[in-house]
Amino acid sequence: MGLMQRFTTIVKAKASKALDKAEDPRETLDYSYEKQLEMLQKVRRGVADVATSKKRLELQSTKLEQSVTKLDGQARTAIGQGREDLARVALERKKGIQLQLQSLDQQREQLQGEQDKLVAAEQKLTAKVEAFRSQKETIKAQYTAAEAQVKIGEAVTGVSEEMADVGLAVERAQNKTETMRARAGAIDELIDTGALTDITDGRDSIDRELEQLTVSSGVDDELAALKRELGPGSPPQGEIGTGEAAKEKE
């Protein structure tokens, strides 16, 4: 005995639960048809949900890729300023983000796979539902009540199983998107707290240090230029300061 028997039992149970037998077997046909249309809606919503989640992952990837470019630039600037320590920090962050990017890529691929499956399920179910719709009218018109009962039993059993199958595919896609959503939320949080260097903020600790370096070296340059301009022998009065302070010194 293998796993097949257990799967069969589970799916049959799901299929029979999906089916609510009416008094008049002809009503069962209509009821089942309504259920099929509902299931089609459900599959279509599933496809849309997966597409939305995929889009979110793509937006995050773009953001992270921008961070990588930025950190790369920062590392170069830091090396130019002789600050290997800062460059190392930038490169370490870059590596961390690149790892996140790889995992986002894998998740995106998984979601794409689910989306493809759901789209295929939707197409198959659409064809099934259409075939069922035309058959149910034939059954209703051509068979006596007793004959119809048998025919309807078969058709409805078949289609209920189909719906249980599609329902499982939708459930599976939903589980996957929920997991992805949780992960995407965690990455958003990391971006928000600046742990991944939020590029929308535009400034991070590396930026600030580099800026300070630029500022202080700029001040040094200007100071040197001023000294050259005013000459080394300038009297103390020439210094910037209040007259009072200068007088007191004298």
Binding site: M1, G2, L3, M4, Q5, R6, F7, T8, I10, V11, K12, A13, K14, A15, K17, A18, G113, K117, A121, K124, A127, K128, A131, F132, Q135, E154, A155, V156, T157, G158, V159, E161, E162, A164, D165, G167, L168, A169, V170, E171, R172
Partner: protein, 92 residues
Amino acid sequence: MIVRILGVGQFRLDEVHHAAANAVDERVQAAYDAEDEAAFHAAVEELAALIQRDGTPLPVEEFVGSDAVVPGPDTTLEEAHQLLSPEGLIPG
């Protein structure tokens, strides 16, 4: 007999191939019991491939219940657990 591969569809399978499918199914069960993800993956994939190769797909306008249902070719151990757990019985 008629076999449904979850997520794929229904196939008509003759007795000889049914026996072959049962043999692979036993390996699916063994891998499931051993919690061996790689072996489970290989076995469900083989089972689905065998049914698709040796069976005849049921036409869209045919509505019949299946005699057997097998997991889809990319079913993970975790998904199988979920499906076969008592909560798996509640229709989604």
